[in-house]
Symmetry: C2
Subunit: 238 residues, 2 copies
Amino acid sequence: MANWFSRNRGRIEVPKLRSRSDEAATTKVDLHEFSPPLLEFLGRAAYVQLSLFENLGRAVSTAPTMEAKASLGRVAELSIARHRELAAEITKAGGKVADAMQPYRAGVDEFERVTRGGDWYETVVACYITAGFLDDFFARLSVGLASEPAKRIAAIYARESGESLLAEQLTVAISEHPRLESRLAMWGRRLVGDTMLVAGSALHFTENHKSDAARVEPVFTELIAAHTRRMDALGLTA
Amino acid sequence: MANWFSRNRGRIEVPKLRSRSDEAATTKVDLHEFSPPLLEFLGRAAYVQLSLFENLGRAVSTAPTMEAKASLGRVAELSIARHRELAAEITKAGGKVADAMQPYRAGVDEFERVTRGGDWYETVVACYITAGFLDDFFARLSVGLASEPAKRIAAIYARESGESLLAEQLTVAISEHPRLESRLAMWGRRLVGDTMLVAGSALHFTENHKSDAARVEPVFTELIAAHTRRMDALGLTA
């Protein structure tokens, strides 16, 4: 497998994507062995969520139509509500929200910068692709936390995220401007790479990197299969 | 009184501000005589609210500290929730959200452009001053609508807006950078002018402009007194 969760490399390589029929045969796996301590998990997840919200705010501001503006406003609300719920878990765990998020600021801000997109279409694809992947990732990583907070965190990630509203806006936009297709397909591939980097940096590995890698691989394979389905839903090649 | 609600002028003149003791003596007045039709009220109010939210999103993105980011995120959530509630009223009244907001887009976008501010401090003062004034204004204007929606709309504007969180962030910022004071005081005066323009354009006048002006005047006097208290709370001269 490609070594895409090592921390010591620049650009990651996206592994060969699996088809939908392969995916159906896999068992749903999680990342419980690699969960960080609770406050580390929450600080990172809460700040990632705030950064996803910031990108949505930008998408609302630059929306070309009133329909898009109104619809993205709803997604932005769901996104910032999820941030607030994660922040509340930090407080519950005895942490201070700002302090818990601080260590992840530089990394996540850089992620936010490279996934911002050059225009409204790229921004909305980024909101759709990165949030979809990271929600899925953090939900699986949360399984390894203490059972009480883990249950509440699973519930937070299980709530409506507005993904279908984003897909709807994008489907309309692509059908109206078919020339966007190849550009947005390429942008989607770049996004999944940057998103996997952010996800990978949240994993707590043991000393035995090689065996960890083997155990993490099936999870990322599933996450990428889900990404492929998200691109499929827009009619774009992953 | 200054003719600051006429639609046919450029820059408005801010009337002489009244002191707090004057204000305490006035009766609370509303604008029921000048309420527009329900869908017009809601379309404008919903789009103004979306634009206030956009400015908050910008304030979250550019916040200098994690504390500020986290706190403004909460205010942004309250703001977009209020937009969603106003949008739901449009649907309830038989309108389409995007269509109802469309007529106000150009005017409100221009308002948003001039109140955006040149840096984070100005943006947050704008969020605080313009939302405070306009919430107050729309609440009073809603009194003239049909009683069922009017009741629900009053409830929407009565809910927590996060104003105190904004004041808190600004008080901290000003105490840490006292040289901001004069610039932000001047910015606040400019903001109230632009905000009154947007408010004034929502009033439905009769043929008798002179008599309307006389009846509207006490309401704007109260709105400006409230603005003065908001500036006072920051230690800034209105």
